[in-house]
Symmetry: D2
Subunit: 197 residues, 4 copies
């Protein structure tokens, strides 16, 4: 008997805190955004490159649709510009700003910091998540745990279901002052023993 | 502060039991399916006509995607053939069977019973739900309450989110183990006027 | 050196008169239409079945776009309802009339006559052209010769080019009163020896 | 009675020589390409910017489909990178080369020369054609005359028909074998103001 809906099966168990991102420069936001600032909300982050055809035709339009479909209070949508090729063409803030303007992307976008150890290769955040390429979709739960990481295309139906499942979960508070809320939290197994220590 | 996700905002409050459907003939199922048989699972029902272009291009393919994306244990997907025009062309079981075969629709489909009072007009289930036309998407929760009724197009993202939200809800159990229950009761209370006994 | 454009390469040499069609019943036209009535114009005929998904999603919408893009004086667009399966469901005039109404298909459609020798199989015109299935696209030139027969999908670009090539060709007049006109007729080899005798 | 096919109606009368283009740098070709080099072939030129969404989603994929559908001997396909905004982001050869690589655009692309009089504005070729923006589709006939200039979207059916119509036309030969010719003369006469000598 299955008690875990398919919509949640795209989600991994809540075993692992999402790594912090390392951003060289932010666009579409007045102040830098740390992952910790988003605790309490679900986070959809889409890693992209402005010259990646799959990002332009699929990943970014989907992120825009997600931004429309969910409330800011429940879900943060973040772009990560993870440039790992054509640095000269797409590596400048000006190029990205022009791109975001033309494609009318209004959610915050952070430029993933280039690695000092390996300049010209994959940038720091991309490495921290061991991403395979772009676009990569990340879902982080209200407690900061990485629950989905998918390279390539994710169906709207499954992504919508996964986001709603995470929105329905309670946040785990570090002070223990609040128990997992809601009748559906047990189904998900979001007990304290899953708390990342 | 909003604590109700957008994905759930497409859902109506759980005030009303879904009316029973009245089916003249079933296809793609060995036995007739009553709404009560599906209690405990979420139900997506799509009302369509085989000669309705919007049903063929949008409503039915979406129901097929939904069937793929969610587990049978969590979600039942049902088609309702609500013929309210061109009865000669699309009113026979043979015509519908040929259509389902060609379009590879494998989920159960019930042919909505024609009304004795008003033959040639809207059929019985369509009237019971006061549907405006086809396609119409219905979502019924685990406790049998109508939570979404939408004529026309519903975005995949929002539909996936709404289904996942309903899957995440507990069923109201008749043994009172979880909450008081009657067929027309819920956490909000009981609404006698919706009682369908 | 190629002097035959690709757009024409989808066209076969003008070796063969298009077989007459045998129509049981016409819709969307006041009088029956014989192929001979269309001599002097290019003819696009699309063979379809109302319950054929590829016809509904591709073949018929393309024929509608073609109807919009070319002048009636230059091009006739004809539908052929070549029912070779599900006769009970799609074999009646009423069913087809309802279908054409709902899909807003306004060009003339002929119902291909069922074969007396082989009732329930492929109808007469479908056999005369040895069609493999539906949709099948036919292009007939101003002189009544079959120049394209394609089962399945034809790209808009190539179809538009093929139609324009045929429109640019002169009609071969049986009384010999008119020579092939136009500077491009020689390229195509539309000499008198190709005249169907 | 109409003898001009719709497919040709998108074409303007052959009154005007296409202005020469002024290219700062070529990609995807070993040697620069002058418009005069293409005399005898039909030319499709698509003016685009790499950060123009309509170019990326429509104009450039269409040019790629056209390249596939017609023979090189009949039709040249050329891209013109007419940067009139975001010069910093899309104005370098490296940026364009990366873009062409990622989008697998293999036909020759010329970078329209920036205007010395008005740096930062519309480039020289864009001005010579008085283009309204990007994408702009140009069709030039075998004799070098501008026959179509369209800002925005052109349907595949109509573009295919227009190209085939032009391919079907004869070139005006300078030796007088077919018609008197000067670079700015045609069957309609000569238009001195267009003379580009």
């Amino acid at each position: 008997m299955s008690s875990i809906p398919e919509g949640r099966r795209v989600l991994t168990p809540p075993l692992r805190l999402a790594p912090d991102w390392h951003i060289a420069h932010w666009l579409n936001t007045r102040a830098p955004i740390a992952l910790a600032d988003l605790r309490g909300r679900v986070v959809l982050a889409v890693a992209f490159q402005m010259l990646c055809p799959g990002c332009v035709s699929h990943g970014l339009p989907q992120a825009q649709r997600v931004r429309e479909a969910f409330a800011e209070d429940d879900l943060a949508v973040i772009g990560l510009h993870t440039v790992f090729e054509h640095h000269e063409a797409q590596g400048t803030t000006a190029a990205l700003a022009a791109f975001l303007h033309e494609y009318q992307i209004a959610f915050p976008v952070g430029i993933d910091a280039q690695s000092a150890q390996s300049p010209g290769g994959a940038p720091v955040t991309m490495r921290a998540y061991a991403m395979q390429g772009t676009p990569t979709t990340l879902l982080i739960d209200r407690s900061g745990r990485l629950r989905l990481q998918k390279f390539g295309r994710v169906e709207d139906l499954r992504l919508g279901a996964a986001i709603a499942s995470l929105i329905g979960e309670a946040e785990l508070r570090p002070d223990g002052g609040e128990a997992p809320r809601g009748p559906d939290c047990d189904d998900q197994g979001c007990t304290l023993k899953d708390r990342d220590t």
